[in-house]
């Protein structure tokens, strides 16, 4: 959401990324860029390495070789929480909420990197801490409102219907004020109606100036919403281009039809 002028180079640049788990070469020499302000999709069959790539971008584990550059900074030596404060947020393929906490509290945890109060500050609870807490709650409510869940703020997150849990996760990610948001199969488990709403929500998020990189299996949603698509297969990049280009690519057709 912070715009620091145009980047000629991509906001996110993956350069010759490699990652193996034992004998499994999950990501092979993948390179691509994500331009600021777009919705970009990452597609490919199960096991293609999409989630692994997300984990590499968010710093869950290090690259074997290659570079990931975000906002002109190499992310190789950064801790996860550094990357979050630099502006990378994510959601998980299997929704990961703090189930026993309220919906509002979940989003407040999303504000962690944008707030400061530490151990002693929490105990002393001086006026600046109180002010920060109040503002944090307002912001969290704003994001809940944004995803249409303000009415459920005080419900336990684990008690919500699945589709709503997805929205809480998105609100929580937005709360960290990202510049780049990674969504791992956000439409999985949603019905047609919810999927449509999700598409609208993603456009609204992009209109806030947040760049989106999503993994998605729902092809009609992907083709409709994505400005650009990268196709992975067995860890390697198979194709890249606009939805139209990718759909017409022989290699992609072959991979998807299993030929």
């Amino acid at each position: 959401m912070k715009n620091s002028g145009p980047n000629e180079k991509g906001l996110l640049r993956i350069e010759n990324a490699n990652k193996s788990f034992g004998g499994v070469h999950a990501v092979r020499d993948v390179s691509f860029e994500v331009q600021e302000g777009v919705i970009q999709a990452l597609i490919g069959p199960n096991g293609a390495g999409k989630t692994t790539l997300f984990n590499l971008i968010t710093g869950v584990f290090p690259l074997d070789t290659g570079h990931i550059i975000f906002n002109d900074q190499d992310t190789g030596d950064k801790k996860i929480f550094n990357l979050v404060s630099m502006g990378i947020a994510r959601t998980f393929q299997n929704v990961e909420l703090f189930t026993g906490m309220t919906v509002l509290e979940n989003v407040l945890v999303g504000l962690h990197v944008r707030t400061k109060c530490g151990f002693l500050g929490a105990i002393a609870r001086l006026p600046n801490v109180q002010r920060e807490e109040k503002e944090a709650r307002e912001k969290a409510m704003h994001w809940l409102d944004f995803v249409g869940l303000a009415h459920a703020a005080n419900n336990k997150a684990g008690d919500l219907a699945f589709g709503w849990q997805r929205s809480v996760e998105i609100a929580r990610a937005l709360a960290s004020e990202p510049r780049l948001m990674l969504l791992d199969e956000p439409a999985a488990g949603l019905n047609a109606n919810e999927t449509g709403q999700l598409g609208d929500l993603m456009r609204q998020i992009r209109d806030l100036g947040v760049t989106l990189l999503l993994v998605e299996h729902d092809m009609s949603l992907t083709m409709e919403i994505a400005d650009r698509i990268v196709v992975l297969d067995q860890g390697a990049k198979l194709s890249e281009g606009t939805p139209r280009e990718v759909q017409a690519d022989e290699k992609v057709i072959a991979a998807y039809l299993g030929a």
Binding site: F119, A122, R125, W164
Partner: protein, 315 residues
């Protein structure tokens, strides 16, 4: 406010017990165990990390103040900060490597640490007095006021409990407390939203160790004699049982658990013989049937029951 009410209850109880030495002392012990339980609860109940060696920090608090006051004739008020800092620093050293990893490494680490400390208390005779214990620890007094009488000491201990409750309550309802609870529910997600999970866990571990050392300090200057038998693995398990019974993630539950497990052996003499088995049984039962602890578990059942009666189902 609930804390004012709590303070009033303590003062009235203290006044009502005037002269009843046995009950004054019992209540003081309950206070000391409540301190231990509420500190450990911050670690277990909120952050979801288990310590199986918490009696060691209790012992570090007691032995630090004991050694400084007995061997070096320090004033207890000078040894108090040393006892707290000692426990904090040691907790930091133990926690730093183990808390980087998620899972049960802290449990394993603290288990071993507790055993080592127990051996140290028993064998480092020049400092600790060895198996015979350390004798001659002074009682507390402040500006000429003798704090060692039954009622005064009860007030001192419960004053500390109240203060610790207050601090824990503020911590829990803050950015820090939310991060800790988040770690409990999903360490992966907590770290993905930018919580420095290793740091948060280490902080709360150090905090719980410092509270345990405060309890150790109060214990040492109450009984004026300490021996290794108080700070054993069994004592650590008993503390875990208090937290679990009291309902994890509930400050007042710690009070309940500590009270229950302090009174039980008093009123049930067979208890002493089967202590270990009973604690083990309680722990297993609660973990299997009510993983959130007794108070929370009962509350959950009640909420479910009420929701069913109202027929309200989300969405």
């Amino acid at each position: 406010m609930v804390f004012t009410l709590f303070a009033a209850v303590i003062i009235c109880t203290g006044a009502a017990l005037e002269g009843d030495y046995y009950h004054e002392q019992l209540l003081t012990f309950i206070g000391i165990f409540t301190l231990l339980a509420v500190g450990l609860n911050m670690l277990m109940g909120y952050a979801g990390q288990i310590s199986l060696g918490h009696a060691a920090f209790y012992g570090i608090g007691a032995y630090t103040t004991g050694a400084l006051t007995v061997h070096l004739q320090w004033s207890p008020w000078a040894s108090l900060p040393c006892a707290l800092i000692m426990a904090g620093v040691i907790a930091y050293i133990v926690g730093k490597p183990t808390l980087k990893l998620s899972g049960y490494y802290l449990g394993m680490g603290t288990l071993g640490f507790g055993m080592i400390m127990h051996v140290l208390f028993r064998e480092w005779t020049t400092i600790t007095g060895g198996p015979n214990g350390l004798v001659g620890i002074p009682s507390l007094s402040l500006w000429g006021l003798d704090l060692s009488t039954g009622r005064n000491y009860l007030y001192v201990v419960w004053g500390c409990v109240l203060l610790t409750f207050f601090i824990c309550d503020r911590l829990v309802n803050s950015r820090v407390g939310r991060a800790l609870r988040a770690i409990h529910y999903s360490e992966q997600a907590a770290s993905a939203v930018g919580v420095d999970t290793a740091k948060a866990k280490l902080q709360v571990f150090v905090f719980s160790a410092v509270v345990a050392a405060l309890a150790g300090f109060l214990y040492a200057h109450m009984v004026m004699f300490i021996s290794p038998g108080t700070f054993t693995f069994l004592a650590s398990v008993k503390l875990v049982a208090m937290v679990v019974i009291g309902g994890m993630a509930s400050i007042w539950g710690a009070l309940l658990g500590a009270t229950f497990l302090t009174l039980l052996p008093e009123h049930l003499s067979v208890f002493a013989d089967y202590e270990m088995i009973i604690y083990g049984g309680i722990l297993m039962g609660v973990m299997i049937f009510l993983p959130q602890g007794l108070t929370r578990g009962v509350l959950d059942i009640y909420e479910k029951f009420r929701a069913k009666r109202k027929g309200t189902v989300e969405d």
